[in-house]
């Protein structure tokens, strides 16, 4: 007997079946396309943005993230369940297409069949098991959502509808298969039946019914299964099912970097409004993002503000913007999202790094901040306004006299470029290392390390101004550009070739943000610079073993993917790192990013305290970091969390300078 089955068995294959079937299918697809096109008008409310450049890269990202589920799998548990369900369901979809292709086209028109013999056996067992995998994964996701109920996972009508339709489609599929097999294979074709193991079990369960009952059951369920699928297609635009298309498309439209770069605003054009106050002030991609969100809450779980009882959830921001775009396009975004939420963001990028839908949260928050600052002159507090005024007058947010910016380097082997521009590197010191006593120690250590490695270091001294990073992240693009332009002109004037910073915020700003303003010098963070000197044998260290834990700063880690170099330096100094639970791309912000370094933390608990407790939990006694903001926050956080004596915060440079050989 040939290994195959009669397609449309018990249903019939005449015009009375095919015409209504295809009619319903095309109507459903028509509705889907129409709703999709209608949705385009929602996205079109936004400003233009080119996200169709670099097509090869985009298509690759799309394939990788849809077919391989790469971003979904960044989180194991539910990620694996989603991926397996997706692969299972996709195979079933593909199988259905093959059936229709043969029965309604190739065989119908040309008498050509392919679903028989070994190909049919493989087809049969693959689909049979794919269905099982899909059901088990869906069940797992159901248990997680409705019984385990992870904190923050909100279930709406959408979720119930989606679980219901998918379960019903999968289960009716098996009963249909079982009923058919009970009649056609169980009695005399067991050799083929074993190629549908789940169907076989189902067939045996149903075998007690008489053939005519089975035939009725089969026919009824076949049509039910069909209409469930029609319902599924129609539900796509109106439920989270839309993520099948929107999230996939979002992989294509994803931000291809540089990571974390903000849009450099045109401050001199004839724009009448700056930043985002209404949905029209955002780009179409910002609105599209809101449609790609599946409310998986991965962003919220990792948000340092959310985790310290502040009124910010990146997921909620996206959802609120989506509601405005779809329902109340005239609404004020800032009122909708709330100023406290907007100001709470540390721009740490934990949300974007983990988002399985490639949504860009931070830029939207900064756009709203820009509107508050540039159009209303509003800040999260008076202390921030004062810092802005200080930066404007003295070039630093701390309110220190600008002329004393280079005083820290008195007596150190450092030249001011104004006196001597013949140097190997320009050390862009930054505000904290210039003025803050604690961080001057780091700057001094870095200079000593350079000296030991035979590197001639120059600084700008009083000619250097704040790089503008905290100012920019707080929305003050105007002041940022004015500071940046001055720095760029000053640096360019000296003809230096390479800039090194000890601050990840300065580094990220000079290396990426300044590009848009015409700065093109090579910029390195000192950990990368020193690591190279160490490997080249120019920086000689004697290892002196110690235990520590290491904090990946947001702007060296997530923003620049520099995880290895600083660890290599710690190891070169004899350090053994006991990693915190949240490290590398999952690192938890110190609380100072997003300009929060110059703002008081008035809401919720201290982020720095939370991080200090995580560090203390490793039991290593030393918290090593690579950023002046982190160091400042940890000095406070450790005191605030009563961990003094248990944990000492140190910068890598401070540790290395104690281990200089010779």
């Amino acid at each position: 007997m040939e290994a195959t089955r009669e397609l449309y068995w018990n249903i019939g294959h005449g015009a009375s079946i095919l015409i209504p079937m295809y009619l319903f299918t095309f109507v459903a697809l028509g509705l889907l396309i129409r709703s999709g096109l209608q949705r385009l008008s929602i996205y079109r409310q936004g400003k233009p943005l080119n996200r169709t450049d670099r097509r090869d890269e985009r298509i690759l990202g799309l394939i990788k993230n849809v077919l391989l589920q790469s971003r979904v799998l960044l989180v194991k548990g539910p990620g694996i369940a989603h991926a397996l369900f997706f692969w299972g369901f996709a195979l079933l979809f593909l199988g259905t297409i093959l059936v229709a292709a043969q029965a309604d086209f190739t065989e119908f028109l040309f008498g050509f069949r392919f679903l028989y013999g070994n190909l049919y056996r493989i087809f049969s067992v693959t689909l049979d098991l794919a269905g099982l995998v899909a059901i088990v994964m869906l069940l797992g996701l159901y248990v997680r959502r409705y019984l385990v109920r992870p904190e923050g996972l909100e279930s709406s009508r959408d979720d119930a509808v989606m679980h219901g339709i998918l379960f019903a489609i999968l289960i009716t599929g098996y009963v249909i298969e079982g009923a058919r097999m009970a009649v056609t294979e169980l009695p005399d074709n067991m050799a083929l039946a074993v190629w549908s193991p789940v169907g076989l079990v189902m067939a045996k369960l149903l075998a007690g019914m008489g053939e005519s009952t089975l035939r009725h059951l089969h026919q009824g369920l076949w049509w039910l299964h069909f209409f469930l699928v029609i319902g599924f297609i129609c539900a796509i635009p109106f439920t989270k099912f839309r993520h099948i298309f929107t999230t996939s498309a979002n992989y294509f439209f994803a931000d291809l970097g540089p990571k974390g770069a903000l849009v450099t605003m045109d401050m001199e054009g004839d724009a009448e409004s700056f930043g985002a106050a209404t949905i029209k002030d955002l780009t179409w991609k910002d609105i599209f993002d809101t449609d790609a969100c599946t409310k998986c809450k991965r962003c919220q779980d990792r948000c340092p503000a959310h985790n310290t009882e502040k009124p910010l959830s990146p997921m909620k921001v996206i959802n609120q913007l989506g509601e405005v775009a779809c329902g109340t396009p005239e609404a004020n975004l800032i009122e909708t999202v709330g100023k406290d939420a907007i100001w709470s963001c540390t721009t740490c990028r934990a949300c974007q790094e983990i988002c399985p839908a490639s949504i860009e949260h931070v830029g939207k928050i900064v756009e709203m901040r820009r509107n508050l600052v540039l159009m209303e002159g509003e800040f999260p507090g008076d202390e921030v306004m004062t810092a802005m005024e200080n930066a404007e007058v003295n070039g630093n947010p701390l309110g220190m006299a600008f002329a004393s910016r280079g005083d820290w380097a008195e007596g150190l082997p450092v030249v001011r470029l104004a006196d001597d521009a013949d140097v190997d590197i320009l050390y862009f010191v930054g505000c904290y290392a210039s003025f803050d006593k604690r961080n001057i120690k780091v700057a001094t250590s870095f200079v000593r390390l350079c000296q030991a490695a035979g590197v001639r270091v120059g600084i700008l001294g009083k000619e250097e101004k704040c790089c503008g990073e905290p100012i920019r992240k707080l929305g003050n693009e105007y002041l940022y550009q004015s500071l940046a332009t001055e720095n760029i002109e000053t640096i360019k004037g000296y003809g230096v070739k390479k800039v090194v910073t000890a601050c990840p915020h300065c580094f990220n700003t000079l290396a990426k943000d300044y590009r848009d303003l015409g700065f093109d010098l090579e910029v390195e963070h000192y950990t990368v610079f020193l690591n190279r000197l160490q490997q080249e044998g120019k920086l000689k260290l004697k290892a002196d073993s110690f235990d520590c834990t290491y904090h990946d700063s947001c702007y060296l880690g997530r923003h620049n993917d520099l995880y290895q170099e600083p660890r290599a330096l710690v190891a070169a100094g004899g350090g053994t790192i006991r990693e915190m639970e949240k490290s590398r791309a999952e690192s938890f912000c110190c609380g100072a990013g997003g300009g929060r370094i110059i703002a008081e933390e008035k809401l919720g608990s201290r982020i720095s305290g939370s991080r200090a407790r995580m560090a203390a939990a490793t039991g290593s006694g030393i918290l090593v970091s690579n950023c002046p903001f982190c160091l400042t926050m940890f000095e406070d956080g450790i005191k605030g969390a009563d961990l003094e004596g248990q944990l000492i915060p140190r910068d890598i440079a401070e540790i290395l300078v104690e281990r200089l050989a010779g």
């Binding site: 009448e272 700056f274 002329a403």
Partner: protein
Amino acid sequence: MLVVACIKQVPDTTQVQIDPVTNTLIREGIPFIMNPYDTHALEEALRLKDRYGCRVAVLSMGPPNAEMTLRKALSVGVDRVILLSDRCFGGADTLATSNVLAAAIHKLAQEEEVPLVICGKQTIDGDTAQVGPGIATRLGYTQLTLVDKIVDLDLVAGKIRVSRKLEGRHEIVESPLPSLLTVVREMNRPRYPTVPIRLAAEVAPVELWNNEVLQLDLQSVGLKGSPTWVKKIFSPERDKGEIIGDGIGDPAGTVNLLVEKLLGKDLLEL
């Protein structure tokens, strides 16, 4: 209706050092700022504009480079800025300064009613607190000094009631308009300039009034009109601080040490 705020460009004295040889301020590397008290005067004028729709003019007497600071006033949204600058105004003491400012306000008042003039209580470089009262006297305005709040303003009835911040107490004073207010820091929090106004300010005009415009008697302005002059500026000698005792380990003993020290210096009586 026009509200006038008077401002002065001053060196940021928090950063100023005095040259021990010449006894003059070292200006090198010191940024110029708007006198901090004046920023509150300007802000209060802007709040009156927001509330009553009156216009705001800002006056400053100073050298030509004071235009920079007047531009800052433009960037927060004032309607008119006037720099009172002339070689013959130079070297002025508080009397001569108030002569010039009063003359300018008088001139403005001929075009438009000026019910209120607002000044900072004093400047951080001169610290005299005399210019505001000087202007009021010359204009015949009631003078309300050390104001930390306008309690009530009735422009129709021409009445103002303000709170004055005195040492350890507040005084509520009512006066007929026109008045001149000198304000303290507690008055308000000056606003941060928005970008659209800032951009407009970049191209807005700063009017220049010299003595051809004001037509003041040369004996009443500048060095010639100034009966006072600075003889010497110096930083007082100060003993270096020290840490005594062990405040955490032995608080009682440390207090005893402190009391003995203060008694020894005759700063405390038992």
